[in-house]
Amino acid sequence: MKMTMTEKILAHAAGKDFVKPGELIMADVSLVLGNDITSFVAIREWPKFGKEKVFDKDRIVLTPDHFTPNKDIKAAIQCKCMREFAKKEGITNYFEVGRVGIEHALLPEKGLVTAGDVVVGADSHTCTYGALGAFSTGIGSTDMAAAMATGKLWFKVPSSIKFILHGKFRPYVSGKDLILYIIGKIGVDGALYKAMEYTGDGVSSLSMDDRFTIANMAIEAGAKNGIFPVDEKTLDYIEKHGAKEPVVYTSDEGAVYDEVYEINLEDVPSIVAYPHIPENTHDAKEGKDIKIDQVVIGSCTNGRISDLEIAAKVMEGKTVHPDVRVIVIPATQKIYKEAMERGYLSTFIDAGCVVSTPTCGPCLGGHMGILAKGERCVSTTNRNFIGRMGDKESEVYLASPATAAASAITGYITDPGTFMEGEKR
């Protein structure tokens, strides 16, 4: 019987030779993740499972990354609860502030995920690790507690949608533009309950950072997971980051897909998703009349080193528009240090940006850049729902790091390719 990559990984984890879409299975999980917000609920639920100890202290990851560094006393209580739980259970992968980063940038960097893994996380963007050829998906806090107790979880095997990619991006277009382009096409429930699988010759042109960004936002199309084939770039990444031996699954020729889309990467423009839904996509060139108050460059979607690299390239030697405040957030301490060593942080500071310690803060309206009524933000984050970054009458425009950087300079939504062309003249 023919199976997709996702089906093969789940079949193996469930100890079966074959699974089909729609089937309910009980599968072993490789890794369980929680953050300061979701773990607080999971730890409250934990005693109800009646277990003395977690299933494996080395296969649970706890990251205080959302309301950290503690934004107030309540946030401090949540983090303290998680810290004490980690100590009591002897959790090896608890990362304290100063060593932590935004979870979905941190786990691959620490070599905690490899190809073929089944990763569950009490955070919807756990789907990020599909970039490494793993099955990974977001769950809730009670699921997290169940997985910590048993090392297992129930899943409905998803059907798959195939995206065949050709060619390569134009300059200043990146993975963020592609995933927004796709969400614009299929809608925020276009892949509901499904796997989004990427294939085709275009995959090899995508950097690992691009793949993380694309897999990260599978949830914004309603998907259960996003997944990439494992190629040399993946294996190289896994080896460099010291992850365990990869198990490479490939989709069978003749595996069944609900839908197939073909996309030429050079046809993808710089895209901006207007409020208040990620499917409300527009070409960045249409944004000249949209004046902005704030720019955020960071998050689990776009806070990696190549994101900071392109933003620094666009901002190099320029100054932020006087009416705009720019918050740059490297996603992990390692990325922060590398950006410092490469001179990107100087570029940002000289341009008039603030550079923050790693945190999810502003993305979910937590702290470090909340919007007032009527304010507009171009953000490299992943959601632009009502009130997402502050007041319910504020507006979030989702974009790539290049678009965000160009917009920071001009003060309105700006196509980075056109902007950089203009700079050359």
Partner: protein, 164 residues
Amino acid sequence: MKAKGKVFKYGDNIDTDVIIAARYLDSNDPDELKKHCMAEIDPDFPDKVQKGDLIVAGDNFGCGSSREHAPIAIKASGISVVIAPSFARIFYRNAINIGLPILECREASEKINAGDEVEVDFDTGVIRNMSKKEEYNAMPFPPFIQELMKKGGLAEFVKAGGFN
């Protein structure tokens, strides 16, 4: 088991940020969370909602974040069931895991209006609209999920050996 109450009606793609905004995620206390439930798009909801009332919404209810605070807030508000043609998958899991009843029914979502009096029979999946004198049939849950719901949630299901 039956539920009966008045309907709060919402559209498609109701996301978890409007069900409970992130600024209230500094608590895991259901009684605290319910004070802010749905308030981003319906500021009167926390005051108006009565025990037994229903939420009827459009496609992809509960999309966005994995925050279990969303179904917890809805359940704590006294809502007896959420009816929608489709649910976002993490919300679907979370609702079942914590024992917030949900039903998938496109016809009910299309025909029920705000304020209608509706009765739901969870054993048969029949949704009765008393205001319009209509009946709709919800999609039955797979047996595994029914078993999990019957046990009263995931913790009880696991304790009873459901994962073995």
